[in-house]
Symmetry: C2
Subunit: 134 residues, 2 copies
DNA sequence: CTTGACTCTGTACCATGGTACGGACTCTAT
DNA sequence: ATAGAGTCCGTACCATGGTACAGAGTCAAG
């Protein structure tokens, strides 16, 4: 028993499938230190459910706008005791997310107006260039 | 008079400053076809307020998540009559923006919960890995 | 016991969106 | 008239996040 229960039961291909990524991507994440070195059997990587969780976390954190570097740090923090740093990363990302969400909402509103101004009813060029102007 | 009023009154440096980008970035956008060929005086690029508008549009469209390729197309559509295509680009980006906004809001909610669970009150590792789980 | 699917390694390559030269020229201000 | 700031061009380089080999070894099914 190398790591509690759940010994390596997944090949790299299965893990990749479980995380909806490619095999090369798993290797890439390993190189980057996002997935730890798996146990080996005859040279073949073997993974467990912990790795599936990590892999899924990576994708979700990416969707949240974290970079791989930040995700790496988050994964390290998960194992550690540095709550302050974890909170810091979380709150600064929350701030960034709030800003970004506001940006995207503004952009969406502009585009909605553009799509309307550029509707079926009229003709000629659409006022695209000026569409983001307030 | 090469182009209506507003002859080239800005050097590349001034244009870049007006758009809050670097000179190299302006040259880059020109190479990519996002800014049209400026008039030249003794080999030096000269720009007008139209170019400032284009440059600002580029940055705003980027913030809205358009790629430079898409922005190029939008700029071309602005001058043209193809309203249908312009609407198409706008509405598909609105859809993408809605999805993205929803993603980011979910992520923010997860992080807010994480920051809370990982608050001053308690100790030990934070539940980072599982923070995105529903 | 062979065939095909899978995996191994390292390295090279890709797209996106810039950023940074080097060496030559020009413009502006003193 | 001359220094220093700005500009020219082409090309090379950067970071991020992958993606794609090639050539060799291994495993699982018939």
């Amino acid at each position: 028993m190398v790591q509690s229960q759940d010994p390596g039961t997944l090949t790299i291909g299965k893990l990749a499938a479980a995380g909806a990524v490619g095999v090369e991507t798993v290797r890439f994440y390993q190189r980057k230190g996002l997935l730890h070195q798996p146990t080996r059997e005859s040279g073949f990587r073997h993974y467990g459910s912990e790795d599936v969780r990590r892999l899924r976390f990576i994708r979700q954190a990416q969707a949240a706008g974290f970079t791989l570097e930040e995700i790496k740090e988050l994964l390290e923090l998960d194992a550690g005791e540095d709550r302050a740093r974890a909170r810091e990363l979380a709150t600064s990302r929350i701030q960034a997310l709030n800003d970004k969400i506001a940006d995207l909402q503004r952009a969406r509103n502009s585009l909605t107006k553009l799509a309307h101004d550029c509707g079926e009813g009229s003709s000629g060029p659409c006022p695209i260039l000026t569409s983001f102007e307030v």
